[in-house]
Amino acid sequence: MRLVIGLCLIAFGLVMLFIGAWISMEFAPPPGAGWGALSIGAICTTGGIMLMRPNKDRRD
């Protein structure tokens, strides 16, 4: 289950990063919506990567 949720989160995060990068394409720094999408994308992608981590290293 962790694997599936992790994969879905990464995919969703990458889509949000794409949208954020698309919105921000012509602006430096990005506009508010661009930052929002990039932030959500980064959090979801990294959260997904955390979930997909192999169980052997877990401390619990």
Binding site: L14, M25, P29, P30, L38, M50, K56, R58, R59, D60
Partner: protein, 315 residues
């Protein structure tokens, strides 16, 4: 169909010098993406925490260096002091974030790094201001100017700064590989990465290892900040470049140092080639988002990445 499948390759063949130029620029970007990804992988391998703050650490390290220079500190000394700041940050993170959270769920540690991100953004803006700053390149001994190569009547320009960035990044990656493979601390770090509890049971100090790892990530962040800052300006928008490390990790594998290097090169060269030869067909500006699409496609076929551990879920 001709414009998509034939014309770009005809252009590559008919203008080989321009093709080499595009490849070189993609290679330089790729090396720098690899460096950012390496910072993520180092901490993820050793502590199991995906360091969300790595992107802002790049900005913070570069801002510290430039900020110190603006206060009148000589260039070379500002590099050393910025390293000292990154060590203090590593020590502080271990002492006040990692240590109190030992034994907690990984996701809590991850959320702590999100908090660290906002602390560094707020702290950085309060100390150094939010305006973009110019990177001090000549003051810290980085070269300027370019070499011109003329193969068969064509022209290829190599910026000396890009050459220096590639060499420094290569040396840093080789140094880290040596450190992790052949030194006592490096081997202890790999033991911690493999199994925290087993490592502690044979007498490896987890706290010391975490300081070393976060400091190594801080060094990588400073070098990356200097190189990217030299290509543009040092500003908080530089965090966006760090986001490119995420598709690099999806490609290369989340726990693999060779994966970070290869993934970075694929993304760097791929996005540059696509922008130049195919970008015009869809309005240009593809360089900012191409990496994310590549990663999405890759995720469908090989979710563990090129070099990542095979993911096995026991029910």
């Amino acid at each position: 169909m001709y414009d998509v499948f034939i014309d770009p390759f005809v252009q590559m063949y008919s203008l080989p010098d321009f093709f080499i130029q595009v490849l070189w620029e993609g290679f330089v970007s790729g090396v720098l993406y690899s460096l950012i990804a390496l910072g993520f992988v180092l901490i993820f391998k050793a502590s199991g925490v995906f360091n969300f703050a790595q992107g802002i650490m790049v900005v913070f390290a570069a801002l510290s260096m430039v900020g110190l220079y603006e206060l009148g500190v000589p260039g070379w000394l500002s590099v050393i002091l910025a390293l000292a700041i990154m060590y203090a940050l590593a020590f502080g993170v271990e002492r006040w974030i990692m240590r109190p959270l030992v034994g907690q769920e990984d996701i809590i540690l991850f959320m702590a790094t999100i908090g660290l991100t906002f602390m560094l953004i707020g702290g950085g803006q309060a100390i150094f201001g939010g305006e973009p700053k110019a990177m001090i390149t000549s003051e810290i001994g980085l070269p300027s100017g370019d070499y011109v190569w003329e193969p068969g009547g064509g022209i290829v320009i190599f910026q000396k700064l890009d050459i220096a960035a590639t060499i420094i990044a290569g040396l840093l990656i080789a140094g880290l590989a040596f450190f992790f493979s052949y030194t006592k601390i490096g081997r202890a770090l790999r033991a911690v990465a493999d199994d925290h509890q087993a490592a502690v049971s044979v007498g490896i100090g987890l706290n010391q290892i975490w300081v070393v790892v976060w400091f190594a990530a801080g060094i990588v962040a400073l070098v990356t900040g200097i190189m990217w800052g030299a290509k543009s300006d040092v500003s908080f928008a530089l965090q966006i470049v760090a986001l490119k490390a995420l598709p690099v990790l999806v490609l290369g594998g989340f726990t693999s140092i060779p994966g970070a290097i290869v993934g970075g090169l694929i993304i760097g060269i791929g996005e540059k080639l696509f922008e130049i030869y195919w970008g015009g067909l869809i309005g240009g500006g593809t360089e900012s988002w191409f990496a994310f699409i590549i990663a999405l496609v890759f995720l469908l076929f090989r979710p563990q990445g090129l070099f990542g551990d095979k993911i096995i879920e026991r029910v």
